[in-house]
Amino acid sequence: MPRLQTNCFILFYLWIPLALLILSTFSLGACTVGAQENPYIVAYDHNLEEPGSLEIEYFSTIGTQRSGPSYHAYWTEFEYGATAWWTTELYLAGQTTFGDSTVFTGYRWENRFRPLKNEHFINPVLYLEFEDINGADKIMKEVEGHDVESDYLTPNAAARREKKREMEFKLILSKNYKGWNFTQNTIASKNLTNEPWEFGYALGASRPLAMKGAAHRCNFCRQHFIAGVEMYGGLGTRYSFGLHDTSHYLAPGLAWNLPSGWTFRIEPSFGLNGQSHQFMLRWGASYEISGFGRMVGNLFKGRK
């Protein structure tokens, strides 16, 4: 019975984006614009969401474990461009561990701020996140501290009892240069209970397969494909800073940005040391609704 309840919970939360999408597209007369998303799943660059646009994203990670069952972790993001310098985002996450159970693992609320007006040699973005998750969370949206493969072996029933309320800070330094994007994220997070600061990093580089746009509308033109690679891992804690007992990953990826507003990403990830998962397959689909803020505003304005 409890398993049935958790499954219903998962279905309820993770199908919200689809329902919203259908509502927005067919009921509110949504406009969509071609996105230009990089293939990163962990690293962030300095490109924020366009103001008033809502991006609904679904991501999935299938992870293997050497001493335990594989798992499927998934999350949904609602990313909204509040202004051209501020993007705010809500995540809902869950996971299924094969041979165990399916659980809802919590939510995150993140904000990204662009402090500088213009493009510079390096473009900083400040990232601030509050997360209320449980110990069964396996989405690996970031790797920090001493996160290692063996942490994921605890059965869901026991793991979900552990509550994690954390604040996470990132300094995102990114640059677009001759079609390339280079980005570096420094991560610091603090569990709001009495636990030490944890640190991590993510690096990324990506480039479209063609630099010029085609003179006709097309879905399969090379300019719509962006290839890249990211590397991410933990850097220990305040009291044991360094690479000892940490996990690290290298992940080549590809993003396909369709003019209709859809973006698809795929990213096989390879563990780089004995503490990392050997292999994870990550993929995602997202849809951008332009002018969402204005449409919602119009709902409450009344007719002129």
Binding site: C31, V33, G34, Q36, N38, D45, H46, N47, L48, E50, P51, G52, Y80, G81, A82, T83, A84, W85, W86, T88, W109, R114, K117, N118, E119, F130, D132, N176, K178, G179, N181, P208, M211, K212, G213, A214, A215, H216, R217, Q223, P259, S290, G291, G293, R294
Partner: protein, 148 residues
């Protein structure tokens, strides 16, 4: 404990919604004159930049496709202005140098709602400039120039 968490979450949602409204209102009310004034602020170094695609016959149609995909939602069909952003077919824009338009595309006007488009590779930004310059002037500036 459950009650405290619920109150905290509710407060977070209220504060977030208020901040979104404040930020959006703030960006609307702090307009000094028109958004076209941003073109006057472009540094001379960028203003003098030449479009590297002058002889490229594909540049204008390709720019048109890019405009449809990324700009039309705000600037309207044919760049005549939309609910969110001003017309780009006014003399201020059409008489601006290609370098000035490229600069605005690259840097955006972040505080006034125009996003940064440096995520488009340089050749695509120049294709957009070629398309914009090919449009010519169409009627007077719309009111939306005051609210991007």
């Amino acid at each position: 404990m459950r009650l405290t968490t619920s109150v905290a979450i509710s407060l977070l949602i209220i504060v977030n919604s208020a901040l979104v409204l404040w930020a959006q209102e703030g960006s609307k009310t702090k307009e000094p004159t028109t958004v076209y004034d941003e073109l006057k602020k472009v540094p001379e170094k960028y203003r003098a930049k030449e479009n590297p695609l002058p002889g490229d016959l594909q540049a204008t149609p390709a720019g048109g496709v890019l405009f449809e995909e990324h700009c039309e939602e705000c600037h309207g069909k044919g760049a005549v202005g939309g609910k969110k952003a001003p017309s780009l077919r006014v003399p201020e824009v059409q008489q601006a140098t290609p370098g000035a338009l490229y600069y605005i595309l690259t840097n955006g006007v972040v505080r006034k709602g125009m996003p940064v488009w440096s995520k488009l590779p340089e050749p695509q930004r120049w294709q957009l400039v070629s398309y914009l310059k090919s449009l010519g002037v169409a009627g007077p500036a719309s009111d939306s120039a005051k609210t991007p």
